[in-house]
């Protein structure tokens, strides 16, 4: 038998006794055996299958645990999404602030712009869209201190006032539409006309008269400091303002309500206030509970 064949058989443990004898007679038999035996020293440190399996199972269990965290987490995430949805759908509704008679209120808008609402007025705006569009709807009268930023619109029944970073009032009462700019500039869109008001400009439109522009020297409207001031305004507007500030009913007898009045009244003392609006016109007044009757002499 071939020498190589013998060695191959030996390597595969396939030698029969006779072949084994032949193999042992090979001249390099001792060398081969020595290599085969010495090579045993290179056996790796024993591999403990059970131990390694336990280790593996631990790792996998740990990984699965980590994965299981995802379930409660996704539930929480879903809940948050729903909450946000509800929250935003509420935001879609407009925020509305309104004042009663003889009440004033300050409103801080989302961009920190400040609005002072005079009595019997209401202001509404959309908090959600505020970043895209600064727009408020106004009924009545308000003083605005607008923060710098994009275009700021005040919509009233009568006209649209557009501003950029400024202080102004808008007054839209029954027969009177008045805009006074105290700082910066505003644009008034009214009756298809567009007028720009600068600091100190006053825009006024009364029922039955032509819109006109005058000047003011004031820094802020007087009602902010609890005084109502009138400059060449019909007496009916004075009476209406008085009613709003004191939440009272005024009956005017034999009085020309169209005559113009220049003057003021304060908001915290009804007697002094009554005198302020009656004495200049030589009017008499009688007062019963929530009713005041004015009479010409």
């Amino acid at each position: 038998m071939e020498r190589e064949e013998l060695i191959r058989k030996w390597l595969d443990n396939e030698l029969n006794p006779k072949e084994l004898q032949l193999f042992k007679e090979l001249d390099d038999y001792a060398d081969l055996i020595r290599i085969s035996e010495s090579v045993q020293k290179f056996k790796p440190t024993s591999f403990d299958t059970d131990l390694e399996l336990d280790k593996l199972k631990n790792t996998i269990a740990h990984k699965n645990q980590k994965r299981n965290w995802l379930k409660p987490l996704s539930a929480i995430a879903a809940a948050i999404v729903v909450l946000f949805g509800v929250y935003y759908s509420f935001l879609l509704q407009e925020t509305e602030v309104s004042t009663l008679a003889s009440q004033k209120q300050e409103v801080i808008l989302p961009d920190n712009s400040n609005v002072s609402l005079n009595s019997l007025s209401s202001l509404s705006y959309n908090e959600k869209d505020w970043d895209q569009q600064r727009e408020v709807k106004l009924q009545g009268e308000a003083f605005f201190k607008v923060e710098k930023g994009t275009t700021f619109n005040v919509k009233t029944k009568t006209g649209l006032v557009t501003v950029i970073g400024t202080q102004f009032i808008v007054k839209d009462r029954d027969e009177l539409f008045e805009v006074i700019c105290y700082e910066g500039a505003v644009r008034v869109d009214h009756n298809g006309q567009s007028i720009v008001l600068k600091q100190g400009d006053r825009y006024i439109k009364m029922a039955g008269t032509i819109a006109s522009q005058t000047k003011t020297k004031r820094q802020s409207p007087s009602w902010i400091s609890n005084t109502s001031t009138f400059k060449s305004l019909p007496y009916s507007a004075v009476i209406a303002e008085f009613e709003r500030q004191y939440d009272i009913k005024i009956i005017a007898k034999d009085i020309n309500s169209k005559q113009l009045f220049t003057g003021s009244f304060i908001h915290n003392d009804i007697d002094i206030a009554l005198k302020s609006i009656t004495l200049p016109l030589n009017l008499e007044y009688t007062r019963t509970n929530r009713m005041i009757t004015l009479k010409g002499e």
């Binding site: 190589e4 060695i7 191959r8 390597l11 595969d12 443990n13 390099d28 060398d31 081969l32 020595r34 290599i35 085969s36 010495s38 090579v39 045993q40 020293k41 290179f42 056996k43 790796p44 591999f47 299958t49 390694e52 399996l53 280790k55 593996l56 790792t59 996998i60 990984k63």
Partner: protein
């Protein structure tokens, strides 16, 4: 083992059995191929974790090949064709030895020569030869494990032995 009844190896006992059957072999394979400095035991763990993570896509028939390929790749990611030097266990000094120091020294020198010789084998030769000599595996078993023919295994082992003998004589 009802191998063909299972579509994949996600079932726990099946997976455990798979581990028991091949973990040791994979370890030997990686050890002999790449040496011990790349932590073959860790690679065995990693390879089996990969198998578990992908168990849905692995049929029982393909699992072994997948496992060995993954194990091999994990090693290749780290190895930069360093020379594989297998550590040999130092002879424990026997308490009652009548072997003389000269013999012990000669023995140690021989081990060192053998170590160098093993390092000079090709990966294929070394894996086949050591699986055969140290793990006592038959040629047919090695052929199955490495997915090669029995003839190729014989050739590798015989080639390895021949080379070792020559190298030791030269050194």
């Amino acid at each position: 083992m009802s191998k063909n009844l299972h579509k994949n190896i996600c079932e726990e006992t099946l997976y455990s059995n798979f581990f028991k059957k091949y973990a040791d072999d994979l370890h030997s394979f990686l050890y002999y191929k790449f040496g011990d400095h790349l932590n073959p035991k860790d690679k065995v763990q990693e390879a089996f974790i990969k198998v578990w993570e992908n168990c849905k896509n692995i049929t029982p028939e393909k699992a072994k090949n997948y496992l060995f390929t993954v194990g091999n790749n994990l090693m290749l990611n780290e190895v930069k064709h360093q020379k594989v030097v297998l550590k040999f266990q130092q002879e424990k000094p026997k308490s009652h030895t009548n072997e003389n120091p000269e013999f012990l020294m000669e023995e140690h020198e021989y081990s060192q020569k053998l170590q160098k010789a093993i390092a000079s084998l090709t990966e294929a030769q070394r894996v086949a030869f050591l699986l055969n000599r140290i793990e006592g595996k038959k040629h047919k078993e090695i052929a199955l494990l490495l997915d090669i023919s029995t003839k190729a295994v014989e050739k590798r082992i015989y080639g390895a032995l021949k080379k070792l003998k020559e190298q030791i004589h030269e050194l």
